[in-house]
């Protein structure tokens, strides 16, 4: 209990801006990943990276404000992301079964 209350103090040793910048960087890496990769799974992983950047940020804010709701949100995100993974991978598998590839570049039949 004692230790728990010290956590914010420990975390605050690093300025909040650092967390913000770090997770922003992480988020941007995720975006770049989404933009540059053609493999559906890698893109999906990049999206997960973005979500994790958000998680980190939430955790940091939560600690700085000594407000647990942010951390609770992190759990929600994790749970929902897991569901998303399940569905997403299923879709990817389905596509792989049909066309033996998961390159999003060639999935452009629907256009104009």
């Amino acid at each position: 209990m004692q230790q728990m209350q010290q956590i914010p103090d420990v975390i605050k040793l690093i300025p909040l801006n650092f967390y913000v910048l770090f997770s922003s960087a992480l988020f941007c890496i995720g975006i770049v990943g989404v933009l540059t990769r053609r493999n559906a799974i890698i893109i999906f992983m990049s999206v997960e990276l973005m979500l994790n950047a958000v998680n980190l940020l939430l955790a940091a804010f939560s600690s700085y404000r000594a407000d647990p709701s942010g951390q609770i949100f992190v759990f929600f995100i994790m749970a929902v992301a897991a569901a998303e993974v399940a569905v997403g991978l299923a879709i990817i598998v389905m596509i792989y079964r049909n066309i033996q590839t998961i390159d999003v570049g060639i999935l452009n039949k629907l256009k104009w």
Binding site: I31, L35, I43, V104, N108, K111, W112
Partner: protein, 632 residues
């Protein structure tokens, strides 16, 4: 129902019976109904004339158009002018109706013809009976319509149809002027009733040369130009000869075309205060008189000659108006109605006998076969040429005397016209009735005097043409100038500046004009009886003669100036402005959207990476914009 109302009612009823019962009324009845309607009107007019008190009487029928303070009522006015016109119209009209019974007997459109004639009478009577400008305008346009219908009576021939259209449209040009004049009158006087308008002017608030009156009179004169075939709107009248001959006699000689003169006399109080307009009226009349007469010199169609003669005589009447000799002009209207109707009917009789041949080059020597026609035609010719003591002499010389007093130059022009008139009339007479017959054998075989229904009107009109002049015998012949006397209340408020010529001048003028007419007649005698010359066939004239024969190419000129440009403009508007400009803009917007759409859809190229890239860029831009305060 008063007598006044009955006058136009009879022809209307006649029209309805013959018109609606078209093809159902027995042919024998058609003519009787039509003529009876005209005669009944004549009887009414006569009894009104006899019982006339000397004071104008207005009969109000009903309010026609009421807007705000303006009330245009359907009402009739009886005064000296309208009574005289009524008598001429119904009198001459009745004779022509009777004549038509014989003339049109074999035509399949017999019933239609009488219906139209009655309708014409109805509108003509409205024209002269109306107590305000708008009712006059009803008649004005109505007679134009009947003229249109009757010119195009034989509607299978599209040339006749074109002539009819030309007449209607040219009349309409004049009508527009009339209409605008009416608007100006309404705006200025707030009423269209003759009594109100002229009453206000009679109060004396108007100087001579008043601008408003100038414009009103000019606009009304434009209307008169159209209806009475004056330069520049005269070309329809010769073409109007396409109609049956009785129509030419009734409408295009005796009655309708004099509507312009009637109108100016009616509005004399305004004209007298607009000397500029009068000057224009006079000179337009003079120009028309001489121009038309000159064209008449070389025409070969019997009706065309008479038509140009009509135009020319109308010119004299306007000349008279221009010098404020109103009653003289009217006197000429009256005598002209007699002898010109007679001439046309005589021509009709000739045409009837000649199996519809109208070209005088193929006539000749008809006097033996058509004695009645010949004698009556001769009387009319003498009358129109201004040889005493027949009607035309008195009326024309009255006008000439006034013109002489007003302007010597105009008198010279008028005299020239009168010489030409005498020449072409005698030319016509000689070519038609004297010499050898030049037509086909078949025609010769058919030659016969017309039936009594046709010759009776001829004889009656011949009598009138002979003695008509005595209705207004001038003082120098110990006459009473009874017509002028009778009409004088009409000019009570007119401040006439014309002064009477003294007796010696008048006699001198008469002698000159009679001499000129006789010389012209003699010249014609020399040419066509002694030298037996016959006008050349079409296309063989040369020089000035060719120009005149082709009517100075005025029709062609109008064609070039008005018809062709409008046709071209119409096609231009339709194919260029309409489809290449306006529609192209409208359609262009539609097409533009479609093209834009075709381009815009290419944004949607189907690649996920590209979509996300676009989103990221957009996000970046949006963030940059919303954070501009922090960034810059």
């Amino acid at each position: 129902m008063s007598l006044v109302t009955l006058i136009p009612l009879f022809p209307l009823i006649g029209f309805l019976i013959n018109g609606i019962g078209f093809r159902h009324v027995p042919k024998s009845l058609v003519g009787i109904i039509g003529s009876a309607a005209a005669l009944a009107s004549f009887a009414c007019a006569l009894s009104l004339f006899i019982g006339f008190s000397g004071q104008p009487e207005v009969t109000h029928l009903f309010d026609w158009i009421t807007v705000g303070k303006l009330n245009i009522s359907m009402s009739f006015q009886i005064d000296q002018l309208s009574l005289l016109m009524l008598l001429i119209i119904t009198g001459v009209g009745s004779l022509i109706h009777i004549y038509s019974v014989g003339y049109m007997h074999h035509d399949e459109g017999f019933g239609k013809f009488f219906a139209f004639l009655n309708l014409f009478l109805f509108f003509m009577l409205l024209l002269v009976l109306g107590s305000n400008f708008v009712v006059m305008f009803i008649g004005w346009e109505g007679v134009g319509l009947c003229s249109y219908l009757l010119i195009g009576f034989w509607n299978k021939n599209s040339n006749y149809g074109n002539a009819a259209r030309k007449a209607f449209i040219m009349n309409r040009i004049g009508d527009l002027g009339f209409l605008l004049g009416i608007f100006l009158i309404i705006n200025h006087f707030g009423s269209v009733e003759f009594a109100d308008v002229f009453g206000k002017i009679a109060e004396g608030d108007y100087e001579s040369g008043d601008k408003t009156l100038l414009y009103i009179t000019l606009l009304l004169f434009v209307g008169a130009m159209g209806k009475s075939a004056q330069i520049p709107l005269y070309t329809w009248l010769p073409d109007a000869m396409a109609g049956p001959t009785p129509v030419s006699a009734l409408i295009h000689a005796a009655t309708m075309v004099t509507a312009g003169i009637y109108m100016i006399i009616r509005a004399n109080i305004m004209y007298s205060l607009s000397p500029e307009t009068l000057e224009i009226v006079g000179w337009v009349g003079a120009a028309t008189a001489v121009l038309a007469a000159s064209i008449g010199l070389f025409q070969n169609d019997i009706k065309k000659v008479l038509a140009y003669s009509t135009v020319s005589q109308l010119g004299y009447m306007f000349m008279g108006l221009g010098v404020m000799a109103y009653s003289s002009s009217f006197f000429h209207v009256m005598t002209h109605a007699f002898f010109k109707a007679l001439l046309f009917l005589g021509a009709g009789s000739v045409i009837h006998a000649m199996s519809d041949e109208q070209d005088i080059r193929f006539m000749g020597g008809l006097r033996k076969k058509l004695p009645v026609t010949f004698i009556t035609f001769l009387i009319a010719t003498i009358a129109i040429s201004g040889i005493p003591p027949f009607a035309g002499f008195f009326s024309k010389d009255e006008i000439l005397a006034h013109v002489y007093e007003h302007n010597k130059l105009m008198w010279v022009v008028a005299l020239a016209g009168s010489v030409m008139t005498s020449f072409y009339m005698f030319r016509l007479l000689f070519l038609t009735f004297f010499g050898e017959f030049r037509g086909t054998h078949e025609q010769e075989h058919h030659l016969h005097e017309s039936p009594i229904t046709m010759t009776l009107p001829l004889m009656l009109l011949a009598v009138l043409s002979a003695i008509g002049g005595f209705f207004n015998l001038p003082h120098i012949f110990n006459g009473h100038a009874s017509l002028a006397e009778f009409m004088s209340p009409l000019f009570a408020h007119t401040h006439s500046t014309a002064h009477e010529a003294d007796a010696s001048t008048e006699i001198m003028l008469m002698v000159i004009s009679v001499a000129a007419a006789l010389i012209a007649a003699a010249f014609a005698y020399f040419l066509y009886i002694i030298k037996k010359s016959v006008p050349a066939a079409d296309g063989q004239e040369s020089g000035l003669k060719k120009v005149i024969y082709n009517k100075y190419y005025v029709d062609e000129l109008y064609d070039k100036i008005f018809v062709t440009p409008i046709t071209v403009l119409s096609n231009f508007f339709h194919s260029v402005i309409e489809f290449l400009v306006i529609d192209l803009i409208v359609e262009g917007i539609g097409k533009g959207v479609k093209i834009l759409s075709g381009e815009a859809r290419l944004l949607q190229n189907g690649t996920t990476g590209y979509y996300i890239f676009a989103m990221v860029i957009s996000i970046a831009v949006i963030l940059a914009w919303s954070l501009r305060a922090f960034l810059f």
